[in-house]
Amino acid sequence: MSEQKIDGFELKPGFKGMASDTGSDQTMFKGVHWGKAMMWIFLLSDTFVFSCFLISYMKGRGSTLVDWPNTSEVFSLHVGSVPVPLLLIAIMTFVLITSSGTMALAVKYGYEKNRKMCGWLILATAVGGLTFVGMQVFEWSKLIHEGVRPWGNPFGASQFGSFFFMITGFHGFHVSIGVIFLFIYTYKVFAGHYESKKRGWFTKMKGDYVEIEILGLYWHFVDLVWVFIFAFFYLW
C-alpha cells in the first residue's frame, strides 16, 4: 500500500495515512472519484434521515401505554389455511439481498469493462427492485384493506400505522428512485456510453464505469436501510 502514489503524493496506510491525506492541502479523499465521495456524503445525510424516523418510532412505541400490534401476526400470510408469520417480509428481504448481490457483481464486471455482463446484472438488479416495490404495494393494500390507517388500526396502539406508512413508504420511495436509475443505467451500459466516453447529463464528467459503482453505493444503501427496518420494525 505504501508504495502507491497519486500525483506524486505518497499514500501511507492506516491512521497515519488518514492524517497525511487530511492535512495534504490537496484533495482529501485520495484516489476516490469526486462523484463517489459526493454519493457517500449524500448517503451519510440519508442515514440521518432514516435514523430520525427509526428513533421517533422507538420513542413512539416506547411511550405508548397501549400494546403494540404483534407484527408477526399482522404481517403473516396464509398459505392454504396456515398463517405463516412475516412470510412476505422474508421474501422481500431475500429479493432485496439478491438484487444487492447482482449489483455488487455488476460493479465488478463494469470495472473489468465487461459491458454485456455488467448490463445484464444491472437489469437483473432493476427487476429485483421492481419485484420488491410490487410486493410492498401488495403489503400496503392488504393492510389498508384490513383497516390500518395512520391514525389508528384494529390491532393495537394507534401510532403503529403512521410509523409503518412513513418508514416503509420512505424506503419504498428510495427503492423506486433506484429502480428508475437502474433502468437508465442499463440503457447507458448496453448503449456503450462508457466505451465512447459520452458525457452524462447535469455533468461535464466523461462517462466511466465508476458511475456504476456510484449507482451501486446507492443501491446497497437501500438494502442496508432495509436491514435496520427489518430488524426494528418487523422483528422487534
Partner: protein
C-alpha cells in the same frame, strides 16, 4: 524516466478501484442469505426477551457490516473516507440514548397523571 514515472502514476489514478476476485462477493452474498435466514428464524421460533433482542441486533449489525465493508467497498477504502463516514454514527447513538430517557419519562408521566391520577 521522469515522464514515464508520471505516466504510470496517472494510469494508476485512472484505474480507480482495483477489481476484487468474484469469490469474495459470492461468499458475502451467501453469508447475507444465511444471516437473513437466521434472523427470520428468530421470529419463527418466537424467541422472547433478551435472547430475541440480542439475536436480532447481532444479525442486524453483522449484515450491515458485511454490506458496508464488502459490497460498498469500505474495507478497501482509505481511512480518510472511512472515518468521515463512521464517526457521525456516534451522534446517532447519542440521539438514541437521549430519546430512550425521553420515552421513559413520557411513559412515567402518562402512568402518573392518566392512570394513577396525579398527586
Amino acid at each position: 524516466m521522469d515522464e514515464t514515472n508520471k505516466m504510470s502514476e496517472t494510469a494508476k489514478k485512472e484505474e480507480q478501484t482495483s477489481t476484487q476476485k468474484i469469490g469474495i462477493y459470492l461468499w458475502i452474498w451467501l453469508l447475507l442469505f444465511v444471516l437473513s435466514f437466521f434472523s427470520y428464524m428468530v421470529d419463527w421460533y418466537q424467541f422472547q426477551g433478551m435472547l430475541r433482542w440480542s439475536l436480532i441486533l447481532f444479525f442486524m449489525f453483522l449484515k450491515a457490516g458485511l454490506i458496508m465493508a464488502f459490497f460498498m467497498h469500505l474495507f478497501w477504502e482509505r481511512y480518510a473516507l472511512v472515518n468521515v463516514l463512521l464517526w457521525p454514527m456516534t451522534a446517532i447513538a447519542c440521539f438514541i440514548f437521549l430519546m430512550t430517557a425521553e420515552f421513559k419519562y413520557t411513559v412515567f408521566s402518562r402512568l402518573f397523571y392518566f392512570v394513577v391520577g396525579g398527586a
